[in-house]
């Protein structure tokens, strides 16, 4: 009974509580109570879906990574926009990307990053978490796509999760 009342993921609970305070109009008694209920209930309900937390995350590397991703989104958006407006047909390709990352959370972050940066969508992860299937909108050859992702996103994530 007691562990039903606990917060299995304190950081998630804290994030949920603070987010709820921002979403509601100013902090009041009501929003604090509702925020507490949400901070308790959502981790309890979703507990089965969360992977084990990684041993150690180098959190100070996160801002640099986010800045790089935002910058790449802007640059790549312009490229995709240019491709859409140009008469040249796109050269789409399915690329199998060999993963070096092992932690499920790290793979999720990499896949989300790939989907957010224009020109590539991550479509699937193989059952043994070794391959990532990527659909590229305009790729001259597969190796360029793999190398770009490897150096720009996977290397920083590897450093972060080690």
């Amino acid at each position: 009974m007691l562990d039903r009342l606990s917060f299995p993921q304190p950081w998630l609970s804290l994030t949920l509580f603070i987010t709820w305070q921002f979403l509601s109009d100013g902090i009041s008694g009501g929003s604090a109570v509702l925020g507490l209920i949400l901070a308790w209930a959502i981790p309890q309900i979703t507990q089965g879906f969360w992977p084990d937390p990684p041993a150690f995350i180098k959190a100070w590397r996160v801002p640099a990574y986010l800045l790089r991703v935002v910058w790449d989104i802007v640059i790549a958006s312009v490229e995709v926009a240019r491709l859409i407006l140009s008469p040249r047909p796109a050269r789409p390709a399915f690329v199998c990307y060999p993963l070096e990352l092992e932690h499920p959370l790290a793979i999720t972050i990499l896949a989300s990053t790939i989907s957010l940066t224009p020109g590539t969508v991550s479509a699937d992860v193989s059952d043994d978490n070794k391959l990532l299937l990527i659909h590229a909108l305009d790729a001259e050859d597969d190796q360029t796509v793999i190398d770009t992702i490897k150096t720009r996103y996977e290397k920083p994530l590897l450093e972060m999760f080690q």
Partner: protein, 110 residues
Amino acid sequence: MNPYAEFAICLLLIIGGAFTLIGAIGLARLPDFFTRLHGPTKATTVGVGAIVISSVIYFSTLGQGIGIEEFLITAFLFMTAPVSANFLAKAAMHLKVNTTENTRGHPWDQ
């Protein structure tokens, strides 16, 4: 309102609108399902981003404090867009949706 702020807001709104429009054009112009997936999930990332920033500038210059809500919208959008794109791609692969002829490689069997 500060003329510089007004200029920045206009510029950001135009950029945001242009990218959203290009995303919609891409949805209509691109040849198959998988390439169409790129248009709306991508070009709109910058589109929504620019519109949200212009909204932040507008409400900050009105002196109502910095709009935390806008940043939350951006965060939620950036968290959910890859997931929905992934689900769409998986569903398309499961249904064996046809790809254009010049696509290299094959989707996996589901």
